[in-house]
């Protein structure tokens, strides 16, 4: 019965509606330049959302991603300032993210702590470390070849390089989630962890891996962010975990795990991106933007619940 009104289809429709509304109300909106910029501006959120999708499907969450992004950015700045080659810095930063994810994962799987609590803790911890690494300084003047990579489009297309990376990764995650045993296991873990464990699925190992992936991707996003803005700061990306989670939930992934599709999440990410872009074009203050993100988050959690409450009442249930 849910086939008629699938949530991800609904979000897709909403996406088209917002796009149409934007084209009509804002003259600068539906241009290739602006959309290309909007995509680029979405890069970090989109990348992190991929890893977050897998975590939330498995009924876990990582709130520390923005702080890992910040820590990665601070490391890049500090090491660059110290004279290290950018080719060496990037792997170090990404690896640090993997370690951050490993710490989250170990706390969750070995000590059995809820990931919501663990990653709120490490959200503060990793951001604090970012300040220890770089202090209040901002480091700039990165090599133009690299900043160009973070900003420019793939030649002949309006697609910025980070988004091209996202497309490749999204294809991979789509296959993993919807066509591999690993993906099947994630849905089973999210829906009924005990039954998954009883079926011989290595629940803890899989969760640990998800946290490591999440940390790694967040740190990579930190590198992209730093190069795109040409500025390394400890407070880079503060608060974007909320935009990421809003996109994932808006995409129809159930916060309780076990449900959702990658297609939905991509629609959710684009929806968030378009809305942010529209608000920006309309010169709406960042405070209002943050209010909109918050509202979207609540709406995306609330609506499926309301639908599931209303549906049986309409249809009658056996």
């Amino acid at each position: 019965m849910a086939k008629v009104l699938r949530w991800d289809v609904l979000v897709g429709a909403l996406l088209i509606a917002v796009f149409a509304a934007g084209s009509l109300t804002s003259p600068g909106f539906a241009t290739v330049d602006n959309l290309s910029f909007a995509l680029g501006d979405l890069g970090e959120i989109a990348l992190i959302a991929l890893a977050m999708t897998m975590l939330v499907v498995a009924a876990e969450v990582d709130l520390s991603v923005a702080s890992v992004l910040g820590l990665s950015s601070a490391l890049v700045g500090s090491l660059w300032d110290g004279g290290m080659a950018i080719e060496a810095i990037i792997p170090i930063a990404v690896l640090t993210g993997a370690v951050c994810g490993l710490v989250n994962g170990l706390l969750v799987t070995r000590l059995g702590l809820p990931s919501l609590a663990v990653t709120i803790g490490t959200l503060a911890l990793y951001r604090g470390l970012a300040y220890v690494v770089l202090g209040d300084r901002a480091v700039a003047q990165f090599p133009p070849d690299y900043t160009a990579l973070a900003v420019n489009d793939v030649p002949g297309t309006p697609i910025p390089y980070p988004i091209a990376v996202f497309v490749l990764l999204a294809a991979a995650v789509g296959v993993v989630l919807h066509a591999t045993g690993f993906g099947r296991a994630l849905y089973a873990i999210g829906a009924q962890e005990q039954a998954a464990f009883f079926a011989g699925i290595r629940v803890k190992r899989i969760k640990l891996l998800l946290f490591v992936i999440s940390g790694t991707v967040a740190a990579f996003a930190g590198v992209v962010f730093t190069l795109r803005y040409g500025s390394a700061r400890a407070d880079n990306g503060v608060g974007i975990e909320l935009a990421v989670i809003a996109a994932v939930l808006l995409g129809g992934v159930d916060f309780d795990g076990g449900k959702g599709t990658l297609g939905g999440v991509i629609a959710g990410v684009l929806l968030i991106g378009l809305l942010r872009n529209l608000l920006m074009l309309g010169d709406v203050s960042t405070e209002i933007q943050s209010i909109v993100t918050g509202l979207l988050l609540i709406v995306s959690v609330l609506t499926p619940r309301l639908v599931s409450l209303v549906r049986p009442a309409l249809k009658g249930s056996p």
Binding site: G181, A185, Q192, A199, G200, P318
Partner: protein, 498 residues
């Protein structure tokens, strides 16, 4: 049985979409009678209960209260009219006391709206006295056994002056003593003038407790009649609509080498020094009271729980502790006690559930082959005669018996050499039960070693080549098929010398 029935259904029909859950069903419950409702899974018992409880409204037909037609607009309405439903597993507030649970929302008050605890505890105590049970009203509900939780629910119903108690499979999770205590409570309620509708898959209970029985089959009313004069077979025939072969058809199979060897297995505070072996082709039953540690032994053997000392080996090779993945690899399979939490992922489809134990073998290259996944599910669904509409349907829509078949399918598809089944027929209907028994016997015939945990004594005695009995975490007896009797098993299970 004179006068109007306390509560009755007259020619009630109820459909959900294309499914006709109840067709022209009538039922009369009189004050002072215990009335059994019999039928296989999917016969319409739950729908009938929900109609009495005000959850469903009949499409046609009437609900009659003391002979007068009534319309229950919701559960609160039915409760108001004196109908109470006691479910198999009650949901109490665990952090509140027993008395607080009983009087939730209706606590006796003192001035300024303060709760009068003394009065509340006194009333609760008097309720328990009336029921003839010893429960402390002041103790917290957390940690109460399921049996005690049911008593709290019954006391709650009584405090609301319930005239009709509907008990939906109350004994499914109870041990022998607890069942006996529940029965004496039901007797007390009858003397008190309550009408009781009693649902159970254990036919013996219907015969020992109830005066009349109504049978449903495929949503239709089959018969309402006095229990006296009916035989076991009569009742089964009415439920199933056909003759059943013998319920417990374990055939002698040739015993092969030792498949599962458990040596002095100990998990501190749970079970101690448990040693036994199961040969290929053998069905070994693990009997005992609920809480004796049987499921815990099974869980440890399969690696779901760790063990502190001892060893487990499969076909002579030792198994590492605490790894279900390794146990599966060695050829072990566990059909767990709790279908909904451990056996199945309720949100997933039939095929996904069956595929869950074969994620490795269903792989073609990197991805899962949808065809292989579907074939595996179809193959086993046919072999186990699963009743389903589409393999992509959620397992949640299946009846209990069919859900259990999915769990069995999921494990048999791994081609195990040792199959552990924990309460394989709990809460499933007679027809499916016979199928499961036949299946287990067949599997043993094919050389699989079967370890069966069961609280159903006739099942244990009928199916097992050998019976192991546990009491308080220790093996207290090992009985051959010839020596195993209801008496010898119960003696060992209760700790009396065998």
């Amino acid at each position: 049985m004179s006068g109007a029935p306390t509560l009755a259904l007259a020619n009630v029909s109820k459909s959900f979409g294309a499914v006709r859950a109840l067709r022209d069903v009538s039922l009369e419950l009189f004050a002072g009678e215990a009335h059994a409702l019999a039928g296989e899974n999917g016969a319409g018992k739950s729908t009938l209960v929900k109609t009495l409880a005000g959850v469903h409204r009949p499409d046609t037909g009437q609900v009659l209260l003391n002979g007068e037609p009534v319309v229950f607009t919701g559960p609160a309405d039915a409760q108001q009219a004196g109908v109470a439903v006691i479910y198999q597993e009650p949901t109490l507030f665990p952090d509140l006391s027993v008395a607080e649970n009983i009087f939730m929302g209706r606590q006796p008050r003192r001035t300024l709206g303060r709760i009068d605890r003394k009065e509340m505890h006194g009333q609760a105590r008097r309720l328990f006295e009336r029921l003839g049970v010893a429960l402390d009203p002041e103790q917290p509900s957390r940690g109460l056994s399921i049996a005690d939780q049911q008593l709290v629910e019954i006391a709650k119903a009584l405090s609301r002056e319930a005239r009709v108690l509907v008990m939906d499979e109350p004994t499914a999770a109870l041990s022998g003593n607890e069942v006996a205590r529940l029965f004496s409570v039901v007797e007390a309620l009858r003397e008190h003038g309550c009408a009781i509708l009693f649902i159970s898959h254990r036919l013996d209970e219907i015969f020992s407790l109830c005066q009349r029985v109504t049978t449903l089959r495929d949503g239709a009313w089959i018969a309402s009649e006095p229990v006296a004069g009916l035989t076991h077979d009569d009742l089964v025939r009415r439920m199933v609509g056909r003759e059943l072969g013998t319920l417990y058809p374990k055939e002698a199979a040739e015993l092969g080498e030792v498949a599962l060897q458990v040596d002095r297995l100990t998990r501190e505070g749970v079970f101690t020094d448990v040693s036994f072996q199961v040969r290929r082709g053998e069905i070994v039953a693990l009997a005992g009271l609920v809480g004796a540690g049987r499921s815990e032994v099974a869980r440890a053997v399969f690696g779901v729980d760790r063990w502190d000392a001892g060893s487990v080996s499969v076909a002579g090779r030792p198994l590492p502790a605490g790894s279900p993945t390794a146990a599966m690899g060695a050829g072990l399979a566990l059909v767990p006690e709790d279908r909904r939490q451990q056996g199945l992922v309720m949100e997933l489809s039939i095929e996904r559930n069956i595929g869950l134990t074969g994620l490795g073998s269903l792989r073609r290259g990197v991805t899962i082959s949808r065809t292989a996944e579907r074939d595996r599910a179809k193959d086993w669904a046919v072999r186990l005669q699963l009743k389903f509409a589409r393999l992509s349907d959620g397992v949640g829509v299946l009846s209990g018996g069919n859900q259990q078949k999915v769990v069995l399918a999921k494990w048999l598809a791994t081609k195990p050499s040792v199959l552990i089944v924990d309460e394989p027929t709990r809460g499933i209907d007679v027809g499916t039960k016979a199928e499961v028994h036949r299946l287990l016997s067949e599997l043993a015939g094919q050389g699989i070693a079967v370890l069966m945990i069961s609280s159903d004594l006739p099942e244990v005695l009928g199916m097992a080549d050998r019976v192991l009995v546990m009491h308080e975490g220790r093996l207290t007896a090992e009985l051959s098929r010839a020596d195993a009797t209801e008496e010898s098993v119960m003696n060992a299970a209760t700790g009396r010398a065998a």
